[in-house]
Protein backbone atom coordinates (compact mmCIF):
# COMPACT_ATOMS: atom_id res chain seq x y z
CA UNK A 1 0.00 0.00 0.00
CA UNK A 2 1.88 2.98 -1.34
CA UNK A 3 -0.29 5.49 0.53
CA UNK A 4 0.25 3.71 3.82
CA UNK A 5 4.04 3.52 3.30
CA UNK A 6 4.17 7.16 2.39
CA UNK A 7 2.34 8.09 5.56
CA UNK A 8 4.64 5.85 7.58
CA UNK A 9 7.78 7.48 6.09
CA UNK A 10 6.45 10.93 6.72
CA UNK A 11 5.84 10.14 10.38
CA UNK A 12 9.43 9.08 10.70
CA UNK A 13 10.86 12.11 8.94
CA UNK A 14 8.79 14.29 11.24
CA UNK A 15 10.47 12.98 14.35
CA UNK A 16 11.90 16.28 15.40
CA UNK A 17 15.53 16.77 16.20
CA UNK A 18 14.54 17.62 19.76
CA UNK A 19 12.56 14.41 20.09
CA UNK A 20 15.53 12.37 18.88
CA UNK A 21 17.98 14.17 21.15
CA UNK A 22 15.77 13.70 24.20
CA UNK A 23 15.47 10.01 23.45
CA UNK A 24 19.23 9.73 22.88
CA UNK A 25 20.04 11.53 26.12
CA UNK A 26 17.64 9.43 28.14
CA UNK A 27 19.33 6.29 26.78
CA UNK A 28 22.80 7.59 27.59
CA UNK A 29 21.82 8.68 31.12
CA UNK A 30 20.11 5.34 31.75
CA UNK A 31 23.07 3.33 30.45
CA UNK A 32 25.38 5.34 32.69
CA UNK A 33 23.16 4.67 35.68
CA UNK A 34 22.35 8.33 36.35
CA UNK A 35 18.60 7.90 35.92
CA UNK A 36 16.13 5.09 36.45
CA UNK A 37 13.43 5.13 33.74
CA UNK A 38 10.85 3.88 36.26
CA UNK A 39 11.49 7.00 38.36
CA UNK A 40 10.99 9.13 35.23
CA UNK A 41 7.65 7.42 34.56
CA UNK A 42 6.55 8.10 38.12
CA UNK A 43 7.56 11.78 37.93
CA UNK A 44 5.50 12.17 34.75
CA UNK A 45 2.51 10.31 36.17
CA UNK A 46 2.61 12.45 39.31
CA UNK A 47 2.40 15.77 37.48
CA UNK A 48 0.15 14.52 34.68
CA UNK A 49 -2.41 12.75 36.85
CA UNK A 50 -2.06 13.60 40.54
CA UNK A 51 -0.75 17.08 41.24
CA UNK A 52 -2.84 19.78 39.61
CA UNK A 53 -5.15 22.74 40.20
CA UNK A 54 -7.70 20.54 41.96
CA UNK A 55 -5.35 20.67 44.95
CA UNK A 56 -5.43 24.46 45.01
CA UNK A 57 -9.20 24.41 44.52
CA UNK A 58 -9.56 22.35 47.69
CA UNK A 59 -7.46 24.88 49.60
CA UNK A 60 -9.62 27.75 48.33
CA UNK A 61 -12.85 25.89 49.04
CA UNK A 62 -11.78 25.24 52.62
CA UNK A 63 -10.77 28.89 53.03
CA UNK A 64 -14.27 29.85 51.83
CA UNK A 65 -16.03 27.38 54.09
CA UNK A 66 -13.96 27.48 57.27
CA UNK A 67 -13.06 30.87 58.80
CA UNK A 68 -10.48 29.34 61.16
CA UNK A 69 -8.72 27.65 58.24
CA UNK A 70 -8.86 30.90 56.30
CA UNK A 71 -7.12 32.70 59.17
CA UNK A 72 -4.40 30.04 59.33
CA UNK A 73 -3.96 30.18 55.56
CA UNK A 74 -3.28 33.91 55.51
CA UNK A 75 -1.00 33.64 58.53
CA UNK A 76 1.15 30.75 57.24
CA UNK A 77 0.03 29.32 53.92
CA UNK A 78 2.77 26.68 53.65
CA UNK A 79 1.66 25.06 56.92
CA UNK A 80 -2.07 25.48 56.27
CA UNK A 81 -1.74 23.95 52.81
CA UNK A 82 0.29 21.06 54.23
CA UNK A 83 -2.74 20.24 56.43
CA UNK A 84 -4.38 19.05 53.20
CA UNK A 85 -1.28 17.06 52.27
CA UNK A 86 0.12 19.39 49.63
CA UNK A 87 3.76 20.38 50.02
CA UNK A 88 7.20 20.22 48.51
CA UNK A 89 8.94 21.03 45.29
CA UNK A 90 8.20 24.54 44.00
CA UNK A 91 5.93 25.13 46.96
CA UNK A 92 8.40 25.18 49.83
CA UNK A 93 7.41 28.72 50.84
CA UNK A 94 3.84 29.60 49.86
CA UNK A 95 2.00 32.86 50.49
CA UNK A 96 -1.78 33.10 50.04
CA UNK A 97 -3.07 36.35 48.54
CA UNK A 98 -6.54 37.56 49.47
CA UNK A 99 -8.69 39.06 46.74
CA UNK A 100 -11.14 41.67 48.01
CA UNK A 101 -13.46 44.17 46.32
CA UNK A 102 -10.65 46.70 46.77
CA UNK A 103 -7.75 44.57 45.60
CA UNK A 104 -7.22 41.94 42.90
CA UNK A 105 -4.01 39.90 42.97
CA UNK A 106 -2.24 38.47 39.93
CA UNK A 107 0.90 36.32 39.87
CA UNK A 108 3.66 36.17 37.26
CA UNK A 109 7.27 35.12 36.94
CA UNK A 110 8.84 37.58 34.51
CA UNK A 111 12.28 35.90 34.68
CA UNK A 112 11.29 32.27 34.13
CA UNK A 113 8.26 30.17 35.07
CA UNK A 114 8.05 30.03 38.89
CA UNK A 115 4.65 28.61 39.86
CA UNK A 116 3.26 26.87 42.97
CA UNK A 117 3.44 23.26 41.78
CA UNK A 118 1.97 21.45 44.82
CA UNK A 119 -1.29 23.39 44.55
CA UNK A 120 -1.54 24.18 40.82
CA UNK A 121 0.58 21.53 39.10
CA UNK A 122 2.78 22.54 36.18
CA UNK A 123 2.17 25.93 34.58
CA UNK A 124 0.26 26.27 31.31
CA UNK A 125 2.20 27.40 28.23
CA UNK A 126 0.73 30.91 28.32
CA UNK A 127 2.08 31.47 31.85
CA UNK A 128 5.61 30.78 30.57
CA UNK A 129 5.12 32.75 27.35
CA UNK A 130 6.64 36.10 26.41
CA UNK A 131 3.27 37.88 26.06
CA UNK A 132 2.27 37.08 29.65
CA UNK A 133 5.67 37.53 31.26
CA UNK A 134 6.22 40.88 29.55
CA UNK A 135 2.77 42.42 29.98
CA UNK A 136 1.59 41.16 33.35
CA UNK A 137 3.72 43.78 35.12
CA UNK A 138 3.32 46.65 32.64
CA UNK A 139 -0.31 46.28 31.57
CA UNK A 140 -2.11 43.89 33.93
CA UNK A 141 -5.55 45.28 33.07
CA UNK A 142 -4.81 44.61 29.41
CA UNK A 143 -3.80 41.06 30.24
CA UNK A 144 -7.00 40.56 32.23
CA UNK A 145 -8.88 41.78 29.15
CA UNK A 146 -7.14 39.07 27.09
CA UNK A 147 -8.71 36.63 29.56
CA UNK A 148 -12.10 38.30 29.29
CA UNK A 149 -11.91 39.73 32.79
CA UNK A 150 -12.92 43.34 33.45
CA UNK A 151 -12.64 44.68 37.00
CA UNK A 152 -14.02 47.95 38.38
CA UNK A 153 -11.67 50.87 37.67
CA UNK A 154 -11.25 51.52 41.39
CA UNK A 155 -10.11 47.98 42.16
CA UNK A 156 -6.37 48.05 42.77
CA UNK A 157 -4.46 45.49 40.71
CA UNK A 158 -1.60 44.01 42.66
CA UNK A 159 0.93 42.06 40.59
CA UNK A 160 3.35 39.70 42.31
CA UNK A 161 6.51 38.91 40.34
CA UNK A 162 7.83 35.59 41.69
CA UNK A 163 11.52 36.51 41.62
CA UNK A 164 12.59 34.37 44.61
CA UNK A 165 11.51 30.98 45.99
CA UNK A 166 8.28 32.33 47.45
CA UNK A 167 5.29 30.94 45.58
CA UNK A 168 1.99 32.81 45.49
CA UNK A 169 -1.54 31.41 45.46
CA UNK A 170 -4.44 33.78 44.86
CA UNK A 171 -7.52 33.14 47.00
CA UNK A 172 -10.38 34.51 44.91
CA UNK A 173 -13.52 36.00 46.44
CA UNK A 174 -16.27 33.51 47.16
CA UNK A 175 -19.07 33.95 44.66
CA UNK A 176 -22.49 34.62 46.09
CA UNK A 177 -25.20 32.05 45.52
CA UNK A 178 -23.24 29.12 46.94
CA UNK A 179 -24.29 29.47 50.54
CA UNK A 180 -24.26 26.22 52.47
CA UNK A 181 -22.39 24.34 49.73
CA UNK A 182 -20.01 21.52 50.66
CA UNK A 183 -16.30 22.03 50.15
CA UNK A 184 -16.40 19.59 47.22
CA UNK A 185 -19.05 21.60 45.41
CA UNK A 186 -17.29 24.85 46.21
CA UNK A 187 -14.02 23.46 44.80
CA UNK A 188 -15.80 22.92 41.47
CA UNK A 189 -16.19 26.70 41.20
CA UNK A 190 -12.48 27.36 41.61
CA UNK A 191 -10.63 27.58 38.31
CA UNK A 192 -6.88 27.39 37.85
CA UNK A 193 -6.81 30.89 36.40
CA UNK A 194 -8.70 32.28 39.40
CA UNK A 195 -5.81 31.08 41.58
CA UNK A 196 -3.23 32.77 39.30
CA UNK A 197 -5.31 35.94 39.18
CA UNK A 198 -6.08 35.92 35.46
CA UNK A 199 -9.59 34.65 36.01
CA UNK A 200 -12.51 34.62 38.40
CA UNK A 201 -14.30 31.65 39.98
CA UNK A 202 -17.27 30.17 38.14
CA UNK A 203 -20.71 31.44 39.08
CA UNK A 204 -22.80 28.89 40.99
CA UNK A 205 -25.60 27.35 38.98
Amino acid sequence: MAGHDHHHDRDHSELSETQLRVRALETVLTEKGYVDPAALDLLIETYEKKVGPRNGARVVARAWADPAYRARLFKDATTAIAELGYAGRQGEHIVALENTPQRHNMVVCTLCSCYPWPVLGLPPVWYKSAPYRSRAVADPRGVLKDFGVALPADTEIRVWDSTAEIRYLVIPMRPSGAEGWSEDRLADLVTRDSMIGTGLPKEPK
Binding site: A24, A38, A39, L111, W126, K128, S129, S134, A138, A164
Partner: protein
Protein backbone atom coordinates in the same frame (compact mmCIF):
# COMPACT_ATOMS: atom_id res chain seq x y z
CA UNK B 1 22.59 38.53 33.42
CA UNK B 2 20.70 40.81 31.09
CA UNK B 3 19.04 38.65 28.48
CA UNK B 4 15.87 37.63 26.73
CA UNK B 5 14.61 35.90 29.88
CA UNK B 6 14.18 39.28 31.59
CA UNK B 7 10.85 40.00 29.94
CA UNK B 8 9.02 42.32 32.32
CA UNK B 9 7.77 45.35 30.37
CA UNK B 10 9.32 44.36 27.04
CA UNK B 11 6.86 45.52 24.35
CA UNK B 12 5.66 43.84 21.21
CA UNK B 13 4.90 40.24 22.15
CA UNK B 14 1.19 40.59 21.49
CA UNK B 15 -1.82 39.25 23.37
CA UNK B 16 -1.78 36.35 25.81
CA UNK B 17 -3.31 33.34 24.11
CA UNK B 18 -4.55 30.64 26.43
CA UNK B 19 -5.20 27.18 25.01
CA UNK B 20 -8.58 25.78 26.08
CA UNK B 21 -8.36 22.44 27.90
CA UNK B 22 -4.60 22.50 27.62
CA UNK B 23 -2.89 19.16 28.31
CA UNK B 24 -0.10 19.05 30.91
CA UNK B 25 2.37 18.09 28.18
CA UNK B 26 2.12 18.60 24.43
CA UNK B 27 4.45 15.82 23.29
CA UNK B 28 6.04 12.71 24.66
CA UNK B 29 9.51 14.28 24.51
CA UNK B 30 8.31 17.11 26.77
CA UNK B 31 7.41 14.55 29.42
CA UNK B 32 10.80 12.89 29.18
CA UNK B 33 12.71 16.22 29.13
CA UNK B 34 10.77 17.37 32.20
CA UNK B 35 11.36 14.12 34.10
CA UNK B 36 15.04 13.95 33.12
CA UNK B 37 15.53 17.49 34.42
CA UNK B 38 13.92 16.66 37.77
CA UNK B 39 15.70 13.32 38.11
CA UNK B 40 19.09 14.79 37.28
CA UNK B 41 18.75 17.23 40.17
CA UNK B 42 19.13 14.24 42.48
CA UNK B 43 22.86 13.53 41.99
CA UNK B 44 23.57 17.01 43.40
CA UNK B 45 25.91 18.00 40.57
CA UNK B 46 24.16 21.37 40.36
CA UNK B 47 21.51 23.46 42.16
CA UNK B 48 18.33 25.18 40.97
CA UNK B 49 20.07 28.53 40.50
CA UNK B 50 22.69 26.93 38.26
CA UNK B 51 19.80 25.41 36.26
CA UNK B 52 18.14 28.79 35.85
CA UNK B 53 21.40 30.35 34.72
CA UNK B 54 21.98 27.54 32.21
CA UNK B 55 18.50 28.20 30.79
CA UNK B 56 18.85 31.95 30.42
CA UNK B 57 22.50 32.01 29.35
CA UNK B 58 21.96 31.89 25.61
CA UNK B 59 21.63 34.09 22.57
CA UNK B 60 18.43 36.18 23.01
CA UNK B 61 17.13 35.30 19.54
CA UNK B 62 17.64 31.63 20.29
CA UNK B 63 15.95 31.91 23.70
CA UNK B 64 12.89 33.53 22.14
CA UNK B 65 12.69 30.95 19.36
CA UNK B 66 12.71 27.96 21.72
CA UNK B 67 9.77 26.43 23.54
CA UNK B 68 10.02 26.25 27.31
CA UNK B 69 10.84 22.55 27.47
CA UNK B 70 13.39 23.01 24.67
CA UNK B 71 15.07 25.58 26.91
CA UNK B 72 14.96 23.17 29.85
CA UNK B 73 16.41 20.38 27.76
CA UNK B 74 19.17 22.53 26.26
CA UNK B 75 20.16 23.63 29.78
CA UNK B 76 20.22 20.02 30.95
CA UNK B 77 22.55 19.09 28.07
CA UNK B 78 24.78 22.07 28.85
CA UNK B 79 25.11 21.21 32.53
CA UNK B 80 25.77 17.53 31.82
CA UNK B 81 28.46 18.38 29.28
CA UNK B 82 30.08 21.02 31.50
CA UNK B 83 30.55 18.37 34.20
CA UNK B 84 31.65 15.71 31.71
CA UNK B 85 28.77 13.45 32.71
CA UNK B 86 27.79 13.17 29.05
CA UNK B 87 29.71 14.00 25.87
CA UNK B 88 28.53 15.14 22.45
CA UNK B 89 29.60 11.90 20.79
CA UNK B 90 27.33 9.97 23.16
CA UNK B 91 24.28 12.12 22.34
CA UNK B 92 25.07 11.70 18.63
CA UNK B 93 25.42 7.92 19.04
CA UNK B 94 22.46 7.60 21.38
CA UNK B 95 24.53 5.37 23.66
CA UNK B 96 27.07 5.64 26.45
CA UNK B 97 30.58 5.54 24.97
CA UNK B 98 32.62 6.53 28.01
CA UNK B 99 32.70 5.22 31.57
CA UNK B 100 30.17 6.79 33.94
CA UNK B 101 31.53 9.20 36.51
CA UNK B 102 30.43 8.32 40.03
CA UNK B 103 27.61 10.52 41.32
CA UNK B 104 26.41 10.91 44.89
CA UNK B 105 22.79 9.79 44.45
CA UNK B 106 20.39 8.54 41.80
CA UNK B 107 16.62 9.03 42.06
CA UNK B 108 14.97 5.66 42.64
CA UNK B 109 11.26 5.10 41.96
CA UNK B 110 10.71 4.46 45.68
CA UNK B 111 12.11 7.88 46.55
CA UNK B 112 10.24 9.99 43.99
CA UNK B 113 7.26 11.01 46.13
CA UNK B 114 9.39 11.55 49.23
CA UNK B 115 11.86 13.75 47.34
CA UNK B 116 9.08 15.80 45.73
CA UNK B 117 7.34 16.21 49.08
CA UNK B 118 10.53 17.42 50.73
CA UNK B 119 11.37 19.91 47.97
CA UNK B 120 14.26 22.30 48.44
CA UNK B 121 13.51 24.96 51.05
CA UNK B 122 15.76 28.01 50.71
CA UNK B 123 15.29 29.64 54.11
CA UNK B 124 18.38 29.48 56.34
CA UNK B 125 19.22 30.26 59.95
CA UNK B 126 19.72 33.99 60.24
CA UNK B 127 23.24 35.29 60.40
CA UNK B 128 22.54 39.00 60.70
CA UNK B 129 19.82 41.56 61.34
CA UNK B 130 17.80 42.87 58.39
CA UNK B 131 18.83 46.33 57.23
CA UNK B 132 15.26 47.29 56.25
CA UNK B 133 11.84 46.97 57.84
CA UNK B 134 8.30 47.12 56.50
CA UNK B 135 7.47 50.65 55.36
CA UNK B 136 11.06 51.66 54.54
CA UNK B 137 11.59 53.44 51.25
CA UNK B 138 14.22 51.73 49.14
CA UNK B 139 15.65 51.93 45.65
CA UNK B 140 16.45 48.89 43.56
CA UNK B 141 20.08 49.28 42.60
CA UNK B 142 21.11 49.83 39.02
CA UNK B 143 23.14 46.72 38.32
CA UNK B 144 24.04 44.93 35.11
CA UNK B 145 25.84 41.75 36.12
CA UNK B 146 27.00 39.32 33.47
CA UNK B 147 26.26 36.59 36.00
CA UNK B 148 22.92 35.28 37.30
CA UNK B 149 20.62 37.68 39.11
CA UNK B 150 16.96 37.73 40.10
CA UNK B 151 16.55 41.51 40.11
CA UNK B 152 14.46 42.19 37.00
CA UNK B 153 15.56 45.04 34.76
CA UNK B 154 12.24 46.88 34.96
CA UNK B 155 12.64 47.76 38.65
CA UNK B 156 16.32 48.71 38.59
CA UNK B 157 16.87 52.33 39.60
CA UNK B 158 13.27 52.68 40.82
CA UNK B 159 11.98 53.58 44.26
CA UNK B 160 9.67 51.30 46.15
CA UNK B 161 8.52 50.42 49.63
CA UNK B 162 9.43 47.39 51.69
CA UNK B 163 6.18 45.58 52.37
CA UNK B 164 7.45 42.53 54.22
CA UNK B 165 10.65 41.06 55.56
CA UNK B 166 10.31 37.52 54.21
CA UNK B 167 13.30 35.83 55.81
CA UNK B 168 16.90 34.87 55.29
CA UNK B 169 17.23 33.01 52.00
CA UNK B 170 19.85 31.46 49.73
CA UNK B 171 21.23 34.16 47.42
CA UNK B 172 20.92 32.99 43.79
CA UNK B 173 23.53 35.43 42.51
CA UNK B 174 26.16 33.47 44.49
CA UNK B 175 24.61 30.02 44.44
CA UNK B 176 24.27 29.96 40.64
CA UNK B 177 28.02 30.24 40.24
CA UNK B 178 29.28 27.80 42.84
CA UNK B 179 30.08 30.58 45.30
CA UNK B 180 28.05 29.08 48.10
CA UNK B 181 24.54 29.75 49.36
CA UNK B 182 25.56 33.09 50.88
CA UNK B 183 22.07 33.63 52.39
CA UNK B 184 20.74 37.18 52.57
CA UNK B 185 17.63 38.93 53.85
CA UNK B 186 14.79 38.75 51.40
CA UNK B 187 12.05 41.38 51.15
CA UNK B 188 8.83 41.92 49.26
CA UNK B 189 9.23 45.39 47.73
CA UNK B 190 6.27 47.07 46.08
CA UNK B 191 6.40 49.72 43.39
CA UNK B 192 3.72 52.09 42.13
CA UNK B 193 2.84 51.38 38.50
CA UNK B 194 3.54 54.99 37.54
CA UNK B 195 6.98 54.88 39.17
CA UNK B 196 7.90 52.01 36.86
CA UNK B 197 6.05 52.93 33.67
CA UNK B 198 5.63 56.69 33.85
CA UNK B 199 2.50 58.80 33.81
CA UNK B 200 0.96 56.50 31.20
CA UNK B 201 1.02 53.66 33.71
CA UNK B 202 -2.25 52.52 35.25
CA UNK B 203 -2.58 54.53 38.50
CA UNK B 204 -4.34 51.66 40.23
CA UNK B 205 -1.53 49.18 39.74
CA UNK B 206 1.03 48.02 42.29
CA UNK B 207 3.81 45.64 41.31
CA UNK B 208 6.02 43.79 43.75
CA UNK B 209 9.19 41.76 43.46
CA UNK B 210 10.97 39.68 46.06
CA UNK B 211 14.40 41.25 46.41
CA UNK B 212 17.46 40.22 48.40
CA UNK B 213 19.14 42.90 50.51
CA UNK B 214 22.17 43.31 48.20
CA UNK B 215 19.74 44.48 45.48
CA UNK B 216 18.48 47.38 47.59
CA UNK B 217 19.66 50.71 48.92
CA UNK B 218 18.00 53.31 51.16
CA UNK B 219 15.96 55.85 49.23
Amino acid sequence: MNGAQDMGGVPGFGPVEAEPDEPVFHADWEKRAFALTLAMAMPGEWNIDMSRFARENRDPAEYLAMSYYQIWFAALETMLKERDLVRDDEIAAGHALHPAKPVARVLSPGDVLKVLHRGGPTERATGSKPMFKAGDRVRAKTINPKTHTRLPGYVRGHKGTVERVIGFHVFPDSNAHGLGENPQWLYTVRFDGRELWGDGGDPGTIISVDAWEPYLEKA
